[in-house]
Symmetry: C2
Subunit: 236 residues, 2 copies
C-alpha cells in the first residue's frame, strides 16, 4: 500500500475564470488574464520576503474541481486534435492520479492588505478559488531549458479564430470595463482566438450559442463562416 500524504492549501487564487470551459490551456497564452493569489492568514510578510527579486513563480495547485472525477491511463490532448491518445504522464491533463497542477506565472507585485498578503500575478490559467499548495521562485539557471524537446507539444497553440463584437456586446463590454476596471475586450479576444471548444467540435459552424462565466458576467458567442467568432452579449 503506498503511503498517503496530507497537504493543506497555503493560498487561494482569485481569477476571472469562474468555470473550466474557456480557461486557456497554459499560462501565458492570454496576457490580460491576470489574477490574485491570497495567502492564508497564518503567513505574514516574512514568508514572501525577497520574493520581489524574482520575475516569475511556480505555483503547485490542486485541480479542485476534478477531485471526484478520477483519471484514465491514457488521455486525448487537445493538441493532437482530440483523436490521438497519449499516456496521462505524457500530458498536462488535469485528470491525473494525483490531481496536482503546475503553472509558471509572472509576479507583478506584492501587497499587504488587512486580509493578508496578496500576490499580483500575470497571465494565468487557473480557475477561481484554486487551492495553492506551494509557491517557489522560478530559477532560470535551472528551470529554463529552451533546447528541451517538447514532444507533441513543441510549439505554442496557434491563434485559430478572428473575433468580432456585435454592437450590443461592445456596449456591454464597455460598461463591464468601467465596472471592473479591467481591459476586458482584449481579454475576451485573446480567450476566444484560441477557440475553447473541444477539438472534435472545431471547424463546425452552427447556430449554437456558446457561453462561459467570466468575471461577473456570462459571455455568449457564436461560430460563423471563415473562422469568425461573433460575441453576442455579456450578461450580468
Amino acid at each position: 500500500m503506498p503511503e498517503t500524504f496530507h497537504f493543506s492549501a497555503i493560498a487561494t487564487i482569485s481569477s476571472c475564470f469562474k468555470e473550466k470551459f474557456g480557461i486557456p490551456r497554459q499560462p501565458g497564452l492570454v496576457k490580460t488574464a491576470t489574477a490574485e493569489l491570497h495567502l492564508d492568514k497564518q503567513f505574514s510578510e516574512e514568508s514572501v520576503r525577497s520574493l520581489q527579486g524574482f520575475s516569475h513563480l511556480w505555483l503547485s495547485f490542486v485541480f479542485h474541481k476534478n477531485l471526484q472525477q478520477g483519471w484514465q491511463p491514457m488521455v486525448r490532448p487537445p493538441r493532437l486534435g482530440g483523436n490521438t491518445r497519449v499516456g496521462v504522464f505524457a500530458s498536462r491533463s488535469p485528470f491525473r492520479p494525483n490531481p496536482v497542477g503546475l503553472s509558471v506565472v509572472e509576479l507583478l507585485g506584492i501587497e499587504e492588505r488587512q486580509s493578508g498578503i496578496v500576490l499580483q500575478l500575470g497571465s494565468c490559467d487557473l480557475l477561481d478559488k484554486t487551492p495553492i499548495l506551494d509557491i517557489k521562485p522560478y530559477l532560470p539557471y535551472i528551470d529554463a531549458l529552451p533546447e528541451a524537446k517538447g514532444g507533441f507539444a513543441s510549439s505554442k497553440p496557434q491563434i485559430k479564430m478572428q473575433v468580432e463584437f456585435t454592437p450590443l456586446a461592445l456596449r456591454q463590454c464597455q460598461q463591464a470595463e468601467q465596472r471592473l476596471g479591467k481591459a476586458l475586450k482584449k481579454m475576451i479576444e485573446e480567450i476566444l482566438q484560441l477557440d475553447p471548444r473541444p477539438s472534435y467540435q472545431q471547424g463546425v459552424v452552427s447556430e449554437r450559442v456558446y457561453a462561459m462565466k467570466l468575471c461577473d458576467f456570462d459571455l455568449r458567442w457564436q461560430y460563423c463562416e471563415n473562422r469568425l467568432i461573433k460575441v453576442l452579449s455579456l450578461v450580468t
Copy 2:
C-alpha cells in the same frame, strides 16, 4: 480551516544519494548522478505512452525525510552564505509548509521490467526512496523562460573546490566502479567540487573527516589548504 488533500506516491526514486548531506542543491549540477524512477505497479506502459518524445520531465515529489521537521517563515539559503534570511516562499528550501519539491530531470529511457515501468533519469538531486506525486512533460514553449529574473539565485553555483584522491581511495573507487558499473570517480568529483558543507563551515580547514553515504559505500574526505579536498576512502 483550510481543506486537506490526500495524495499517494505514484512512483519511487532509486538514486545513489542515501542521505541528505551531499545531495546537489539542484538537478543538473552533477551530470553523472543519474537515477531511476520506478512507477507503482498499478501503472502500465499506457500511462507513459509518447513520453519518449520529451527530453525532460517535471517531477513533483515529497521531501519525505522532512515530514516531522516543520518549517519556519524565513530560511537562510546557502546561496546567500547562510547569513541572510529570505521568505520560505522565496526559496527552494525543503522545509516548507507543504514539503513538496519540484525537479526538472532529463529522460534517458523507458524500460518495461517484470517489476513494472522504469524511467531512466539524468542528473538528479533526489534522495533514494523519494516518493513521486506526479510526472509531467517539460514543455519548452511555456516552461522555458531564459529571460526571467532569478533574484538572489540568478546564476549557477560556482565550483568551489579541487578534488584529489589518495591512492587508497583511488583503488577503492576503481573497485566500486567495477562492482556498480558507474562512473563514480567523476561523480564524486562533481559532488565534492560544489562543497556540500553548510555555508558557515565553508573556507574552514581542519582535521575533521567528513562522510556521506553514496551508492553502497561511505565516502570520506578532508578539507586541506588551497581549496583542496582529499578523498580518503570509499568503505562498504
